[in-house]
Subunit: 241 residues, 2 copies
């Protein structure tokens, strides 16, 4: 601790990975994970697609900037916005100055995604089939997908895609869309019921011709916020109760 | 997007929350979550306790800096080191320049914690009974505890505290220490077995006088890294396979 080291500083940027479950407009089929990208209109990487985002503004808070980029790109307000990771290694910046990108991810419900405005130079892509993106954004999307798929197993991420009440078939469809593979309905039901994460309600799905399926909800009692409310949580789970 | 906004820059700092399960040297009793803190020897907050860490050095990578502060404070190499959160809102810095702190958290096994060197101006504190710390470090520890307790329910965090093989009683003790409350042994066994997260091995704990308890391990087949290995994961789970 006697050596004098020069202190690192950086330019700050915020990027947002916005995941929605969508069906392919042309081929139809099962829903998949899609995300909107923005075409860069200046160097570096002019013409390449990139995550929504950009420089943080002086005085601007991180989560606010993430919500702003989400809104500017899609016209949506996020129901689930969470900090994903800070990318800031010295080697990732090509310029003279280090750039630290704080990456947020947002999950958008199907009916919200349909309302999304697609502006100029914005397009939606299936997350598993992306072109070569600007900067290290392919790596960031890969990591976000890995977190989504890992977290799906144990958390209420499906809730962000589904709403308050859902059938087990709807929940399974979300899991299938995120994991990218079919799941056995009986096994899925057993696993979900054993986990205790969801509870049956007294309500049934309406508008179905035959025997209407039962609606479930996440068990709030298992919500593990035992540590009590933290001011910070509001940043992570905006719109979640 | 026609307005010109001034771009934010920041000084970079890294802090590390180092959690270990320890018994109180004086009172004994059940193990609890402890963490080492460093007494500040200069302003601001001179004399207050703070998380290990400090300015990031020019050219230094984030995870490397976190491992360095862990090593400088405890003499330990981390078995579990993961980025927790980037704190960088404009309001958190008292000086003229914004400071972005990238916070890592490390979990240290019991036998490692016992080997930890306690240097000058370093002391261990029970995480639930901290004095008023420097900066916003109380808030950071609270958030880290919340993440630990939430994540414990669904993940292999216990593994970082336990090693490869463990009895269900040892696993329950880790959960009890982290959650800060006693758990019913029969309920705990049922929940863990239903989760499918751990599998019984053919081995038994040796050195016990009566019927030796069976050893369990985490089920690698349930390791959810289906998305394939990402270069980034090595940063998060250093030392984990």
């Amino acid at each position: 601790m006697t050596t004098k080291h020069e202190r690192a500083s950086a330019l700050l940027a915020v990027s947002t990975v916005i995941f929605a479950l969508r069906k392919d407009d042309e081929t139809g089929g099962e829903p998949q994970v899609w995300l909107p990208l923005v075409r860069r209109i200046r160097e570096p990487f002019q013409g390449r697609w990139a995550l929504p985002g950009g420089p943080l503004r002086v005085g601007e808070d991180l989560a606010y900037a993430a919500g702003r980029t989400l809104n500017e790109t899609t016209g949506l307000a996020p129901s689930y916005l969470e900090q994903l990771y800070a990318f800031g290694d010295a080697s990732r910046s090509s310029g003279a100055e280090r750039v630290v990108s704080i990456v947020y991810w947002a999950l958008v419900r199907g009916e919200e995604a349909e309302r999304a405005v697609v502006g100029e130079n914005v397009a939606w892509f299936p997350a598993d089939h992306l072109p070569e993106l600007a900067f290290d954004h392919n790596l960031i999307v890969e990591y976000a997908l890995w977190r989504l798929r890992t977290k799906m197993e144990y958390s209420r991420i499906a809730h962000a895609f589904l709403g308050e009440r859902f059938t087990l078939a709807q929940l399974r469809e979300v899991h299938e869309a995120v994991l990218g593979r079919a799941l056995d309905p009986a096994n899925f039901r057993r696993t979900i019921e054993a986990s205790g994460a969801v509870v049956a309600t007294d309500e049934y799905l309406t508008g179905t011709p035959h025997r209407p399926p039962r609606l479930y909800r996440y068990d709030d009692a298992v919500d593990l916020a035992d540590a009590g409310p933290l001011p910070l949580q509001q940043h992570f789970f905006k719109g979640e109760s």
